[in-house]
Amino acid sequence: MFAYIVRRVAAGMVMILAMSLVTMVLFFASPVDPARYTCGKNCTPELLEQNRKALGYDQPVLSYWVDFTKGIFVGSEFPKDPALKKSAPETIADCPAPCLGYSPQSSRPVRDIIVEKLPVSASLAIAAFIMWMIAGVGLGIVAALRKGTLVDRAIVGSALVFYAFPTFFIGLGLYVFLALKWGIVPVPAYTSIADGGVGLWLQGLLLPALTLALVYIAGYIRLTRAFVLEAKGEDYLRTAQAKGLKSGRILFKHTLRGALTPIATVAGLDLGGLLGGTIITEQVFNYDGLGRTAVMAATTYDLPVTVGIVLVAATFVITANIVVDVLYAVIDPRVKYS
């Protein structure tokens, strides 16, 4: 098991580095000159050239990538200019390891930006995750147990409605009606726990998390319903019944244990995918998280920030994959890794 985890983590790290290279190759292949975006209105050709050099965009993509990777392990400084460091050391920004690069547009190390935006995205993802797990799995179970009845159809049907609408539509709908028009909930704005305490933090999360959750709920209802129905047809449930167990015990100990194990896998992967930022929901609610920052970085050709967020998001996805696989061996005794 330990050897298995080590192998998976090593493979994951290689994958992350490869992804950073791919992002850079795409960026360098773009016909737009990224240096142009760092050089304001009164740009002279000399200044442009100077910026390009300072950002490292004058090198071939591979050596840019090597520099970047080195920075992760040993740190780096910006701009990388020994001459300038001698003449004006105060203009050199230090970026200690693990250095994810330096954003010329916002004049900050990428890591600082990520550390600032990550809690916003992570709060949103986790709050949504809790909502959709409770509602999605709960309703899925109810629908399965009441299969074919009106309750079942109402649950599956209304889930489908949310499934059919695009995220921004649901988000805007909730925003406009619940917050602006009817004033049922306060206009959502992210407040960190440090700034406003748990209460305000949760209040700010309510609508964005609900939006995100509604997008996922439909899938989880259908998945849970299908798995519970499948488990109900299993022979071991007939055995449980033949033993004389009470129906509550049959449901919780025997049916759900069989049905929810596969759902844990899907849930872990979905959460991993969201922790690195949610583009649409953050845009709609003007949430300053990783998703929105990634969009801004991509549209302003801020390569270091783009790469940094890609790496963080990829790390979450890969970690989630590993955690889910390891978890599976824990919850399903038949699964063994070596």
Binding site: D235, Q241, A242, K243, G244, P333
Partner: protein
């Protein structure tokens, strides 16, 4: 000797099933899976139910366990167990009896055991549900004892293993331990060896018989194989299309079978006393539709002895013809049936 169908009202049998009918409403029509079954089983006795796939054997056993409750199936008739009609019990009354008074052994022990719980956990659960006051450690000790009795070596260690860590035969032994853990008065074994290797099958059946003697439980053993029940059972009931077509003692139904369908089963049986090269002859044709069964005798489309003109096989529904407590549902007169068996069916050595 026990009678097949006792006189009404005086039944002292452990289990007395009367005119049992189980129907399933489906899109294609009403499936009459069990259509008027009547039989008795005394304490400590073994009844073998034999029949082709789809003849209603499992549906019958599920009806006795009350496993059709809460489904769309409709169950009629009566199932007397120790003087009480199981069909009239409240759900909760029946639940308490399941596993305690009537237990079940299923065909495929791998799918019948929960893959996520240890064998011990599942058997302890079966015991504790009916022995709430017993401490965990006492229950565990009892289960270890039970595993030992069903011939599982090293039970102290095996009790904490998962079903997938057991071999097929050991799994079925564990299943038997689970069924017998509460010392039930009736055990229903639904094809308990079909999923096992041929070499293990005999061991499991022997074990079942030994334990039955020890615990004095009645057993209903369901199988496709007449040979198996001929050896083990006191009584045999042969089912075709949801009805019993022949019943009696094991000797009667095996050594002097009188129904053409039973003859077919006998001839499709692998037997050591036959020439090796002689082919097995499955009964030609398909099982009858349970939605719209054939007119007259349900077996007539496949019957080699069908005689529409003289007997009216395709028009007259044969009732049970009870001679010597050996009921047979066939229109051929009894003496002629006996003669046919003697001349055409019985093999020289039997």
């Amino acid at each position: 000797m026990s009678t097949w169908v006792p006189t009404e009202g005086t039944s002292e049998a452990l289990l007395s099933v009367r005119d049992l009918k189980v129907t399933f409403p489906t899109e294609d029509g009403l499936v009459k899976a069990v259509d008027g079954l009547t039989f008795d089983l005394n304490a400590g006795e073994t009844l073998g139910i034999v029949g082709e796939s789809g003849s209603g054997k499992s549906v019958t056993s599920q009806a006795i366990m009350g496993l059709h409750r809460g489904t769309r199936a409709k169950v009629e008739g009566s199932i007397g167990f120790e003087g009480r009609d199981l069909l009239k019990l409240e759900d909760e009354e029946l639940r308490v009896m399941r596993g305690r008074d009537i237990a079940m052994i299923f065909q495929d022990p791998l799918s019948a055991l929960h893959p996520y719980y240890t064998v011990g956990n599942q058997i302890v659960e079966a015991y504790k549900i009916h022995h709430g006051k017993t401490s965990k450690s006492a229950a565990r000790a009892h289960v270890i004892d039970m595993l030992e009795r069903v011939g599982i070596p090293n039970p102290q260690k095996r009790i904490d293993q998962y079903p997938h860590e057991f071999s097929g035969g050991m799994r079925q032994r564990a299943m038997i331990a689970m069924a017998l853990v509460n010392n039930p008065r009736l055990v229903i074994a639904d094809e308990p060896t079909t999923a096992l290797d041929v070499t293990v099958q005999a061991q499991i059946l022997d074990l079942l018989m030994d334990l039955q003697k020890e615990m004095n439980s009645a057993i209903i053993i369901i199988t496709h194989d007449l040979g198996v029940v001929a050896e083990m059972a006191d009584k045999i009931m042969v089912m075709y299309g949801g009805k019993a077509v022949e019943g009696g003692t094991a000797d009667q139904t095996f050594y002097s079978a009188e129904h053409p369908y039973t003859w077919g089963l006998l001839q499709s049986m692998p037997r050591i006393d036959r020439e090796r090269l002689e082919r097995l002859q499955p009964i030609p044709g398909n099982p009858p539709s349970l939605i719209s069964p054939p007119s007259g005798c349900a077996f007539h489309p496949r019957c080699a002895y069908r005689d529409d003109e003289n007997l009216g096989c395709s028009t007259i529904v044969p009732e049970f013809d009870v001679q010597d407590w050996h009921p047979v549902r066939c229109l051929i007169p009894a003496p002629k049936r006996k003669a046919i068996f003697d001349t055409e069916i019985r093999t020289p050595s039997s």
